[in-house]
């Protein structure tokens, strides 16, 4: 048994932590307040090779393992969730489907720009009537004269409408009881993208509603074999859960670090509030749960890197860290008292950014359904 991270992992953590503290922390509050997409940070992250971490180098990616990627996402979220989800959605939802299921030609066409982070990609699964029941896709794609003609809509799609976005991969009904994934380039006639949606958290990340009206893309934009879409998106979500679970650990760690510093500095009744046992116990619980959550996330990531089944652990990690980050954000804000409720204190942003971790890429309930299925129930 060896629980030691590699030196590369440590260096990834150190580098991303420094980057997040020095480059992201000073602007996070403003980006959130103005709901402004972090273009400059994305450019810098791309230069560091952090937008396409696990894509092989031959396609312009970093060739890193999933553990490194989870560490990077964790460290970004420790400082700011909007930036972290921009990276995670681009990597795990936008880019990986093309790497996993694309033909060599499709990979060569899309991956160099996406894996290097010059352009962004999105994944459109959710629809107004298909959320947890993601297989209930109503969007249709009909093959006509060598083109897929798409009609329907998608909802809450991350990274779909930025100036850098190259494409969205959508699930569509391509026949009776048949779902397939199709790549739709931005700018295709008939593909409409709403204004950015207004949100409680993740305010600097890009979330859009998409509409397709007789939107025609080449037949060759089909990803993998026709009718494989359902299986494909389940696989994509299994992997995506590792990144959202890493976000849960990172957010909890960020909340803990803020509470720890504040508790040592804030004095009431003539002493730092960290001297009060109630505050100490809250911090002790947080630290313990973070340790447990991190172990679960790294295990899921490690299993994936070993090429072993990881879906069960990924769902467990996502569920656990969703709940953990909720408790941690809540306890941290409590320790901050009224100051924590003010917009200028980072914990208020972390508190708002937390809730979606229990909803996106499968709600807590959906994780429990997945876990129950793995338990043979």
């Amino acid at each position: 048994m060896n629980l030691e991270l590699d030196q590369e992992h440590e260096l990834v953590r150190q580098t991303v932590r420094e980057f997040a503290e020095q480059r992201i922390a000073p602007v996070a509050e403003e980006l959130d307040r103005e709901a402004r997409f972090p273009y400059d940070l994305v450019r810098e992250l791309a230069e560091l090779g952090l937008m396409g971490m696990t894509i092989p180098e031959e396609y312009g990616g970093g060739g890193a393992d999933t553990v490194s990627y989870a560490i990077a996402v964790e460290e970004l979220t420790r400082i700011d969730s909007s930036v972290a989800i921009t990276v995670a959605a681009h990597h795990s939802l936008g880019t990986l489907p093309i790497y996993y299921y694309g033909t060599e030609e499709q990979r060569r066409e899309w991956l160099p720009d996406l894996a290097s982070g010059r352009r962004l990609a999105a994944f459109g699964l959710t629809e107004p009537g298909a959320g947890s029941d993601a297989g209930n896709t109503r969007t249709t794609a009909e093959l006509r004269d060598g083109s897929w003609v798409i009609n329907g809509s998608k909802l809450f799609i991350t990274n779909a409408g930025t100036d850098l976005t190259a494409c969205v991969t959508i699930t569509a009904r391509t026949g009776d009881g048949e779902v397939s994934n199709i790549v739709v380039p931005n700018g295709t006639p008939g593909y409409g993208i709403s204004e950015p949606m207004h949100k409680l958290g993740w305010r600097a990340s890009d979330t859009r509603e998409l509409s397709f009206e007789d939107c025609a893309v080449p037949e060759a934009n089909l990803l993998g074999p026709r009718g494989e879409g359902f299986k494909q998106f389940l696989e994509i979500l299994d992997g995506g859960r590792i990144s959202v679970a890493a976000m849960g650990v990172g957010l909890a760690q960020g909340a803990y670090d803020l509470a720890y510093a504040y508790a040592k500095e804030r004095e009431q009744f003539g002493q730092p509030i960290a001297r009060f046992q109630a505050v100490q116990f809250a911090l002790a619980d947080m630290a313990t749960e973070i340790e447990a959550g991190r172990a679960l996330v790294y295990k899921a990531a490690w299993l994936k890197d070993q090429g072993r089944p990881f879906a069960r652990e990924a769902a467990m990690a996502k569920l656990y860290t969703g709940l953990l980050s909720n408790r941690a954000a809540n306890a941290s804000l409590q320790i901050h008292g009224g100051y924590g409720f003010m917009d200028e204190s980072p914990i208020s942003r972390l508190y708002r950014d937390q809730k979606i971790l229990e909803i996106g890429e499968g709600t807590n309930e959906v994780q429990r359904m997945v876990i129950a299925r793995h338990l043979g129930l």
Partner: protein
């Protein structure tokens, strides 16, 4: 252009002196000394501007100082030499400079860069001792460096303006943190660092001794500061400061 950079791993966070050995406690996490990150960055720029060459890292420290070297390798340095030997623990200025100079003699770089000072011991002296041993000119506190036509030209900020100092190569230069903004290691750099040559030497490989001729006899906290007064700025803090200084005839 071959550039050597002397880098030190320093304890992270607040420094602690071990009361038993009266040495710095190096048991916790270590980090690349921040001034040295500026020196590495400068070396990389000089190498790249010269269209090639080599950046060699030179360090003396415990075995885990290799972590700090790995960060500098991930930034883009080409290889590293670490001298690690129990007999070198607690080395003083004279001992450390002897070891570093011995490695540098062997490497024979055209330019040796140092950070201005180490964040742990804060000596800000080592570069002058090493330059003396190598019999090379030294420019310290350099905030801007140009290397061309066999000379190094350093600009150093002073209280009254700038000094511009020129020295023929080979030379030793200690850089200030104003000289550049060190890059973050890229993922590619991080992944590639492990496969770069990293040589570990013991003192006998160099045929030198490093032991300390000085002995730290006692360490004590600085005496408490006398009377202090905290001013809240209610609009006339400046006037209050002037008054405070004037009362003490400090103006």
């Amino acid at each position: 252009m071959k550039v050597a950079v002397c880098v030190k791993q320093v304890p992270e966070g607040t420094k602690r002196i071990d009361p038993g050995t009266k040495r710095l406690d190096r048991s916790g996490e270590g980090a690349l000394n921040s001034f040295d990150a500026h020196a590495v960055e400068e070396a990389l720029r000089i190498r790249d501007a010269a269209g090639g060459g080599e950046v060699v890292l030179v360090s003396m420290g415990p075995a885990k100082a290799a972590d700090a070297l790995r960060k500098a390798l991930a930034m883009g340095a080409d290889r590293a030499v670490l001298v690690t030997d129990d007999a070198a623990a607690g080395a003083d200025l004279v001992g450390t400079s002897r070891v570093l100079a011995a490695v540098l003699e062997r490497e024979a770089p055209e330019l040796v860069l140092f950070g201005q000072q180490a964040a742990d011991a804060d000596g800000a002296v080592l570069w002058s001792a090493v330059a003396e041993r190598l019999r090379r000119p030294v420019i310290s506190q350099v905030a801007e460096l140009t290397v061309a036509d066999g000379t190094a030209r350093g600009k150093r900020q002073t209280e009254f303006g700038y000094d511009v100092i020129e020295a023929p190569l080979p030379a030793v230069v200690a850089v200030s943190d104003a000289i550049n903004e060190p890059r973050y290691p890229s993922l590619k750099g991080i992944m590639g660092a492990k496969s770069k040559p990293q040589e570990t030497l013991v003192l006998s490989d160099l045929g030198v001794e490093a032991g300390a001729k000085t002995e730290v006899l006692a360490l004590a906290d600085p005496p408490p500061r006398g009377e202090t007064r905290k001013l809240e700025d209610d609009g006339n803090a400046a006037a209050q400061i002037v008054e405070f200084l004037d009362e003490r005839r400090l103006l």
